[in-house]
Amino acid sequence: GQQVQQSPASLVLQEGENAELQCNFSSTATRLQWFYQHPGGRLVSLFYNPSGTKHTGRLTSTTVTNERRSSLHISSSQTTDSGTYFCASSGGSNAKLTFGKGTKLSVKS
């Protein structure tokens, strides 16, 4: 089945610094999503991005399909960006998403 690896496992930044989160998956993704999980558990979809580059606010997601990797860039980080970021992928007609283990981001003021 699909395997998803995220790096780094954790990241500590000073407010204003940029962050780059990486995701590698084992087979071509027909579905690739980035999620942010609030400390209370709520999982928010940031991007649905199986290929190409997407932007929203200070966030950019870039997926290179044939290299089976995706990245999430956070510019000018804020303390409110602190939390855990998950990459999840599925391949072919498989409906279920496989999640990575997440990157825990901590932004200090």
Binding site: Q37, R42, Y48, T84, A88, A95, K101
Partner: protein, 114 residues
């Protein structure tokens, strides 16, 4: 913003007790997923449905776990006899299609088995 509604937010059960969680998918979404997230933040897929039919499920759900998505009623996930290892966050998600589009998650039901 996701409009998947999960209830209850928290439930505390003794070992051996039943635990039941409900999920109302986003309006118009026929595909529903259940995931279990453990204390190490690891996600485990449990089962998914298209309308009332099971698409995929793991072996675990065939024993103590049961789930259904009846028409015109919330979907549900039930653990017949809770065990300490079932303590986790149970997340429901819905989507428009089986593959190739966004999954939207609810806030989850946190089960604590004491």
């Amino acid at each position: 913003n996701s409009k998947v509604i999960q209830t209850p937010r928290y439930l505390v059960k003794g070992q051996g007790q039943k635990a039941k969680m409900r999920c109302i998918p986003e309006k118009g979404h026929p595909v529903v997923f259940w995931y279990q997230q453990n204390k190490n933040n690891e996600f485990k897929f449990l089962i998914n449905f298209q309308n009332q039919e099971v698409l995929q499920q793991i072996d675990m759900t065939e024993k103590r776990f049961s789930a259904e998505c009846p028409s015109n009623s919330p979907c549900s996930l039930e653990i017949q006899s809770s065990e300490a290892g079932d303590s986790a966050l149970y997340l429901c998600a819905s989507s428009l299609f089986q593959a190739g589009n966004t999954l939207y998650f609810g806030e989850g039901s946190r089960l604590i088995v004491v």
